[in-house]
Subunit: 428 residues, 4 copies
């Protein structure tokens, strides 16, 4: 989009001429921006706000957010007036309320976004805001505004899926290295293993306003059978499989790249689009599975209250007790059974699965397919789950029914043997 | 964005499998879509709604809009509840009101937009809605919803300016031919004159989700002086000027392409970005002017009440009287004076300029620069303004002050001789 | 390739500075160019030669070619010297002869080609040369030089096949309209019929140094059966076939675009690459045929000497006689039989098929498949062949054997019924 | 060029079907290829030859080259016949000789090049050939054939210059790292310093048939003054200069990437095109210099015969003697004087500069500008020249005169102080 740079240049020049850059307080500039009627001068103001913001320290940023939250909230008088004009059934008046109740901060963010390249900068701004929010719950309203707008702007219909490979531009690949959150990429050689060997794929979603910034990516291995461990998949000197004879596609890592987009979810669609893409390229594929961590297993056990332990079959209760008191790792059979119980029975309020990764895949309609002991010997793998990993199965024929059953009744789809391990009947 | 097509294909296949396409009423599908929690099945539903909609007759479309307006408005109970929880100063509660007062139709439109390629289809849907609205004022709420979302989605920061030329893709050029609204393009040869001769330029804005659909475009002629008529600019056999020796850039036509985007304005930014671009390419340029119609001149005269005529200097009053009674065209001097008075003095409620083209350019900060008699001999030119056209000047040094003066006090910037013609003092 | 323009600009500037452009005779500039040792100054000289050449009248061009042919031929002394140093078996000495016998005009053309964009200009130069050659056989050596270099530069490995459609750039589509040599394209609407309806395809070869200039293109119709006439294929209001249910792909027109590339053939490879491409896109296709003119049929009959007529079966001899004396069109059965005899039996010296189109397809390995009476009612179709057209079949299983048989023994592959019509045994 | 892959696929399939891949000897396949009349089957043969070749050991490759050299040389009988038909002045007959004397290996290479992607493979083949040639001088004829064709195919007019930066595809950047021959690039971080900091540039030439293979590249630093050492330019933590205020562009490294293209020179044009490009982007630039090694300085001294030493001024003669006998490094003044004498006075047969780097830049028209002692402390810098580097100046006003003077009379352009150091008069 080379032409756009001319606008950017124009802004620089106008800003330069007027020398406006220097003096005003950013929050005052924001007021000026909202007062402006959509003119070019407004773009200069917006650009100055973004520049000033990015030069701030974290503490200054927090103060800036607080200024915005305080000064650009809802206009109470206007809202009162709108409410007064409404009676149930009066749709036009309800829309007036809707507009009157819109915090001014939303329009402020929209206007900031007019500057070329602003979208990525606003995503970063929200990433900062999420940090500030932890200590300043009063910023939550502003956070909701960002989230509301981002949901609209990062609408699935605007996104583009691209395959990353060895002829992808270096700056994007460098970000992939940086953003991988599950199984660290150790450098360019490791990256090449993951994007440029015949039996590996890496797909990412992009937004057209941020063409060099991946939003989320998923890594895939094409294999013969369902893998029971992550080591062989990441091994440096592994032998590549001919992808045209592969029967299984394994999603072994999925990473969100933009913390500023928290709460706007793409992962479900990315996985399903990749499934469609791979089915098209490799008609020989028969099954699509993940190889996923079980991040909350050990914490579930260590947090387990004594009375809950009593619910377990006595040998398991003993294994849990030992683990809690002496740190003894449960033996393989116990560990397998504990994992089955954790994933199928441990629930949050609302009855959804306690394990966050399980919740994501089950919510997508996947089936808990296989438990793998000793599957991840990395420090994190050991620390979180004594090395246990599991496979979730994405099966076209059952995805929708599973999704509905989980969404409405929190029923978890799982292989019969895992159900039995968890003490459930073989079939639901 | 080739990858995206796989998603489209997946949707087709899923839709095909389930055979859902046929039976349900579109408005019921809309309910289903809103009930869905962001799953792939929701995409299929959305696609079915769009397909069903596009197969409707105009009357069916109006009924569909009425169903949506009735069935997807604000939830009164939720709104009452939210209002009950609010007291002035309670920002969080105000945000609750904002959300409760959001008509469900907004979320419906957002979900429809998830389908690949949906944005252009929704723009067309609103174009239909605007037609239906003329006879069904009850649809205005729904229209406001579309406008609100489009303002957010077609944010300037997402747009891309591209120059059209003879190596532009044929389908886009064909749309340029179709959309030119001011000075008709008579075919491919005429188009080539306007995009592929050295002293002509045509620039358009695009949105990345509609990469083959121009949103608005402006046509530019590079000339030596300020042109006083449109004929020589459009003449088939005119001699091309060396653009590097041109001193003037003339915006001689600006056309909106998408009636579904009414109320979302890009023209101001497009003109200013083109100015920046041309200044960069041709440092020899000294002035940027329009060659614009005066669409409301004759109607202003023919609508002029007798008592208003009395305010005019007697010779002018006579000319107006003659025009109204016998159709006699005012002579050149009178016409020039009438035009000056029309553009500078004739106002709408709110005191803005009565002439729509004048209002657009004055609002952008341009100056009324020159009146040209006999400048447009086309039937429409004669019918609207007896062939009068004017130039508005875009002068970097005064644009912002002009814009402010017009926006806040409705002061119109005009050349001294035109002010005098209108009976005003030479300087404001 | 935007960067390249900088070189072009540099050349302009250097040429501008030195003001060399004006004075020297082009043939003298050519001597200067050959004397130069590959420097930037040589590029300026080359550019000046090309510019001067293109400003010449046809007569001046002929004189220029004669100057080059005379002044840049083989260096006789050097050749004599090289010959003197050679004895059979001395390869190094033979290579010396090869180099000594290379006409200087070859190196001249290579050096002209260094200028950015020169390749297309040299192709045009040869097009002129071929015209001049008709009256000046002495230019044949120079023509051979061009052909030799073009064969090397337009090597198949350098070419790129692209599908033309409605999002192809307008300047290329305009050339397609201009170059169609078989069935005229009457304008942009007709073109759209041929490139942008679901059951039509148009493919072209390009060379990377001439990215906007198609070299050759072929037009394809996807149909259910083998078509027996061209009219329905070109009809404006025909109903489109769903290409995914088509069984037959018909090559109904193939046009060379660059007369300057005469003698460098791509058509064979283009057809076969298109076959591969279509097989890939539409697995339902079962056969690939042409719908081809029979350009030499009537001329063969009118040129037929009386004694040859005697060889024909009496009824046919009578039909020929009538056609020659009274212009009476043979009736359908006779015409069919005459066509069969013409295509299978009429030969050139070397025993290849007399008909040029037949020679092309048979040489490619195709089979004469079907004769269609009344298939082309255009003036040219009537004039050349009383409206007869034929289908050649490209059948993967027999292409190579057919090609070999035709290339080595001039055996023509034809359907059994056509063989019988021509008085041959049913099977060869 | 995605379409091309269909041809590649077709070849694979045809090759697969016929199972021809296995049995025949590559040299026999070559005979078959030459016998073929340009058919698709010839493409399969060519592909099989390339595949078979690439699977060979170095010794097998040498044998293959010997087979080709022996079996595809000039046809002696045809040549004798052609010679017999010639008399001086008979241009047509001379062309017959030219063709008869063309070794069959040339046509063989042209036909191999028809396979998609073959050009890069043939460049690699010649790289192997150049290695084999060192021990097998009999292969020189074949080497000349490759060089002749590559000169034609890699004609400047076909090349494209591209700037490499951090959004260049990773596979190309990886090759840049591998090919840098002067100042090693230690990894991706070092590379980013050289391509993606504001005051650094890297430009490369590409051929369209090898779009991911750079042919040659040059690295540029934008600086304030003429640099006297390489260290600060490569330093990891250097501070970047604002390129718009830079006055000097320094070519500090130029690397050929394809050993198979030895003898086809692009460097001169690349440097001059980069000069033009940078002048355009940065109008503030005032001078273009290199920072170049002096690779032959120490060898010149160590090879210096005693009697030559006698020609030197006595203190220098002593310094040389000490260096040769005890390895003592000459002191700074002596080293400077020795460098001046080496570069200006040491000549090859033909009187060109003995130093290869000097020969390259002087031949391009550059001026020896400055001698820098202690400029390169790398092991190679010390080993070749005790750390001495020099600057050559590319000055638009004198390039052509310098080039002519060096090309015709071997006059070396040098700064007055360097001339004096070498014992020459201040002005030539």
């Amino acid at each position: 989009m080379p032409e756009r740079s001319f606008l950017a240049e124009m802004l620089q020049r106008i800003a330069g001429r007027g020398g406006r850059k220097s003096s005003k307080k950013p929050a005052d500039l924001c007021s000026e921006l909202l007062g402006d009627k959509g003119e070019v001068s407004g773009l200069v103001t917006a650009m100055n706000i973004l520049d000033a913001y990015e030069a701030m320290t974290p503490d200054q940023k927090t103060l800036f957010f607080q200024d915005i939250a305080a000064g650009f909230s809802v206009d109470d008088k206007a809202l009162e007036f709108a409410i007064a004009g409404w009676t149930p059934g009066n749709d036009a008046a309800a829309r007036e309320i809707h507009m009157a109740a819109e915090p001014k901060s939303q329009e402020l963010i929209r206007r900031l976004n007019r500057v070329p390249g602003a979208t990525a900068r606003l995503v970063n701004m929200r990433a900062d805001l999420l940090v500030a929010l932890m200590e300043n719950p009063g910023l939550n309203g502003l956070n909701i505004d960002f989230q509301h707008l981002f949901r609209s702007w990062f609408n699935l219909g605007f996104l583009e899926m691209r395959r990353m490979n060895w002829s992808t531009q270096a700056d994007i690949l460098e970000k992939i290295i940086a953003y991988e959150a599950v199984h660290e990429i150790t450098g360019w050689d490791d990256l090449r293993q993951r994007v440029a060997t015949p039996d590996r794929r890496l797909f990412a979603f992009f937004h057209p306003a941020m063409p060099s910034d991946p939003l989320i990516f998923v890594e895939v291995a094409l294999t013969t059978g369902v893998p029971g461990a992550i080591g062989p998949i990441l091994a440096k000197n592994r032998k590549s499989v001919d992808p045209h004879s592969a029967r299984t596609a394994v999603f072994y890592s999925i990473s969100n790249c933009q913390s500023g987009l928290r709460g706007i979810s793409f992962g479900n669609f990315l996985i399903k689009q990749v499934v469609t893409d791979l089915e098209h390229e490799f008609p020989s594929l028969r099954q699509f599975v993940t190889l996923s961590p079980v991040p909350g297993l050990r914490r579930w056990i260590s947090d387990m209250a004594s009375d809950r332990t009593a619910d377990l079959p006595p040998p398991l209760a003993k294994a849990v007790q030992d683990a809690k008191s002496t740190g003894k790792i449960p033996d393989e059979a116990d560990l397998r059974e504990l994992t089955a119980r954790y994933l199928l029975l441990a629930r949050r309020s609302g009855n959804t699965a306690l394990d966050s990764v399980a919740h994501f895949h089950l919510g997508n309609g996947a089936t808990l397919h296989q438990i793998n002991i000793g599957a991840d010997s990395s420090p994190r793998g050991i620390e979180n789950s004594w090395g246990v990993m599991v496979n979730y199965l994405y099966d076209g024929g059952s995805i929708e029914a599973n999704h509905q059953a989980y969404a409405t009744e929190q029923k978890i789809a799982a292989a019969a043997d895992i159900r039995v391990l968890a003490g459930l009947p073989k079939r639901p």
